[in-house]
């Protein structure tokens, strides 16, 4: 009986297996649907403005995801995050300008350089905990910004570096595809790490450092791994941004940008990876429609962060979990 079932449903079960495998990678059907929608956007939407808005949302959402990898899991707020991302931008820009290796090598260099600095920062924060980790990473981020301002021969200081596009014939839609690909790959990789033993160790360290250490988790190792991965991923997106915008100034490393990414990540719900991405797609287009009222936009941003912190620290992803639970309970009742 069983064999009959498998033969008749082999095609269907093959599909089901694929769905299941994708689900294992974190690409559940709703997420795939969102990706497909984004991928279709450049075909059906010819409005540059909307495409740029989608890129901005995806870019900041992806940064929030990288930020959440440290903030939401090992519970260390990297307050110098914008400095790391900016370093990625500078690395990509310098490689693209001064070497003949091309833009793609620049992106790789961006990830490598920031990964290295991330490792170094992880190393510096080893003896520190809690708010001291944030302070240390803040100082490292500000040092990077101060260096970018001071090393005028290399970075042209506040005048900034002019960066060529990723490739000569690129369109806005092309940028969206590249960013979408990068975000997907980074998301799947980050999730694989989170799902592995390492991820378990991250959460253990984040929840109770001493208990984690006592039960045999090596905090040194996992802290270094976490900082390196999160920074490298952030730097990769920073490299993309340099090409997309076409100019890199020290200003992109300022703490204000860290605040923006941090706000998205916490409004989305810390420890959820995708929460920040959804927050970005909700808020950035909304705020952009208030563009002429720039100051009000940021006021709302700050207020949201305050309200989330006071009343709902679980953020959007917490809300989503509650909804799913409610739906499941309702379904269960119906079956009974």
């Amino acid at each position: 009986m069983q064999s009959a079932e498998t033969t008749t449903g082999s095609r269907a079960s093959g599909l089901a297996r694929l769905v299941e495998q994708l689900d294992q990678l974190g690409l559940s059907l709703p997420i795939l649907a969102c990706v497909a929608l984004l991928a279709l956007a450049p075909i059906f939407v010819s409005d540059e403005y909307i495409l740029r808005l989608l890129i901005a949302s995806l870019y900041f959402g992806s940064l929030a995801m990288c930020f959440d990898f440290t903030g939401g899991y090992i519970n260390a707020v990297n307050f110098g995050f914008a400095g790391f991302v900016g370093l990625g931008s500078y690395a990509a820009a310098l490689v693209a300008i001064h070497t003949g290796l091309g833009a793609w090598a620049g992106l790789l260099a961006a990830a490598l350089a920031t990964g290295l600095v991330g490792f170094f920062t992880g190393f510096l924060t080893l003896p520190l905990r809690g708010i001291y980790v944030s302070l240390m990473s803040w100082f490292v981020g500000m040092t990077l910004m101060a260096l970018a301002t001071a090393m005028v021969q290399v970075t042209r200081g506040a005048r900034g570096l002019i960066v060529p596009p990723l490739y000569s014939s690129i369109t806005t839609g092309g940028y969206l595809y590249i960013l979408l690909g990068m975000s997907l790959v980074v998301y799947v990789l980050l999730r694989l790490v989170i799902r592995s033993r390492a991820g378990l160790a991250f959460r253990a360290i984040g929840q109770n450092f001493d208990a984690a250490q006592a039960s045999g988790v090596n905090p040194t190792r996992y802290k270094l791994i976490n900082f390196t991965i999160s920074s490298a991923a952030g730097g990769l997106f920073g490299g993309f941004y340099a090409h997309y915008v076409g100019i890199v100034t020290p200003d992109i490393m300022s703490t204000g940008y860290t605040l923006e990414v941090m706000a998205l990540s916490f409004i989305g719900g810390s420890g959820s990876l995708l929460g920040g991405v959804f927050a970005a797609f909700l808020l950035i287009p909304l705020f952009d429609s208030l563009k002429r009222l720039m100051e009000y936009r940021l006021i709302i941003y700050g207020m949201l962060l305050i309200l989330v912190m006071i009343f709902y620290p679980a953020g959007l992803s917490g809300l989503y979990q509650v909804l799913i639970q409610k739906i499941n309970r309702w379904k269960g009742k119906k079956i009974k």
């Binding site: 519970n75 707020v77 510096l124 003896p127 520190l128 905990r129 809690g130 708010i131 001291y132 944030s134 302070l135 240390m136 100082f139 490292v140 500000m142 040092t143 101060a146 260096l147 301002t149 001071a150 005028v152 200081g157 703490t255 204000g256 605040l259 941090m262 706000a263 916490f266 100051e295 009000y296 940021l298 006021i299 941003y301 700050g302 207020m303 949201l304 962060l305 305050i306 912190m309 006071i310 009343f311 620290p313």
Partner: protein
């Protein structure tokens, strides 16, 4: 090195240090008593500057009443902030207090900066001087404003010190900073102490902004620099150490004026940040060995 150069560097360093100390004492107080990593401290500095500007220029007050008005208004703003934001957060947030409070102040900083921008616009609002005079010190003529700002800073710090050491409420504040549960047991009303502390911290920041109005005009984003400077000071002193913050304020002021002279602005920042990183790495308790509370490491 030229003696007059040395003298002028020393003098500017000291004058600057006094104001850093004033800002940092407020920050250290808020951190030590309330366990809040206050990231919006600079915004109360700006509030003080705006209040002094409108008091001095629009209302035509004398300098001292204008500065006092600014101090009072920033105190009030601090009290309102605590009642409106930190009070509800304290009720709800238990284990994650330090991080949540820190993120809340980050949001508060964004909100206040942009409220200033929306209300007052991007204009710089400054005055040329409070007092039309200059003082001769060691052969150099220095504007009376700078001396007065220094004097105001020192007297405010002294006043705070007397208040903390000699009055009943001051002692209660110190008790709360040492042990919250213990002070609750002896009948101290924590809510009142927290509100008062935040008000005092904001007042010190506002006082700084008001007395420096002629040197740095009121501007929506004007709080960033003093904020970063006072965080430097507090880190050097050891988080939450108010007495250390006074000495560290002068250290930072002197270090800045000397390194600025020798390295130029860009590299001066790099140098001071590298020193801070080294300090945090080897002596996270700061130069004066503050006790690290376990909450700060959560």
């Amino acid at each position: 090195m030229d003696v007059t150069v040395l003298q002028s560097l020393l003098l500017t360093g000291l004058l600057r240090g006094g104001l850093y100390a004033l800002m940092a004492v407020g920050l250290a107080l808020v951190f030590g008593v309330m366990n809040i990593c206050h990231f919006a401290h600079g915004e109360y500095y700006v509030l003080g500057a705006y209040a002094a500007f409108f008091g001095f220029v629009t209302l035509g007050l004398n300098p001292i009443p204008a500065i006092l008005l600014a101090a009072f208004l920033s105190f009030l703003a601090g009290v309102i902030t605590d009642k409106l934001l930190f009070h509800p957060l304290r009720k709800r947030s238990k284990g994650e207090w330090v991080m949540n409070a820190f993120l809340l102040t980050a949001g508060l900083s964004v909100v206040l900066q942009n409220v200033y921008r929306a209300v007052f616009g991007m204009r710089y609002r400054g005055i040329t001087q409070y007092w039309d005079a200059s003082v001769e010190i060691m052969g150099m003529s220095i504007a009376a404003d700078r001396i007065m700002a220094f004097v105001i800073a020192l007297s405010a710090i002294f006043g705070l010190w007397v208040f903390l050491q000699r009055t009943r409420t001051g002692r209660a504040i110190r008790a709360v900073s040492q042990d919250e549960r213990g002070s609750m047991l002896v009948g101290i009303n924590l809510d009142h102490i927290h509100t008062l502390t935040f008000g005092l911290g904001s007042m010190l920041a506002g006082l700084g902004g008001a007395s420096l109005l002629s040197l740095s005009p009121a501007y929506p984003y004007g709080g960033n620099k003093p904020l970063i400077a006072s965080w430097f000071v507090v880190t050097i002193a050891g988080l939450g150490n108010t007495q250390g913050a006074i000495v560290a304020g002068f250290i930072v002021g002197l270090f800045e004026s000397f390194s600025y002279f020798y390295l130029g602005q860009g590299w001066q920042e790099v140098a001071s940040l590298c020193l801070l990183i080294l300090l945090l790495l080897f002596k996270p308790t700061g130069l004066f060995g503050t006790n690290i509370k376990s909450v700060w490491e959560k």
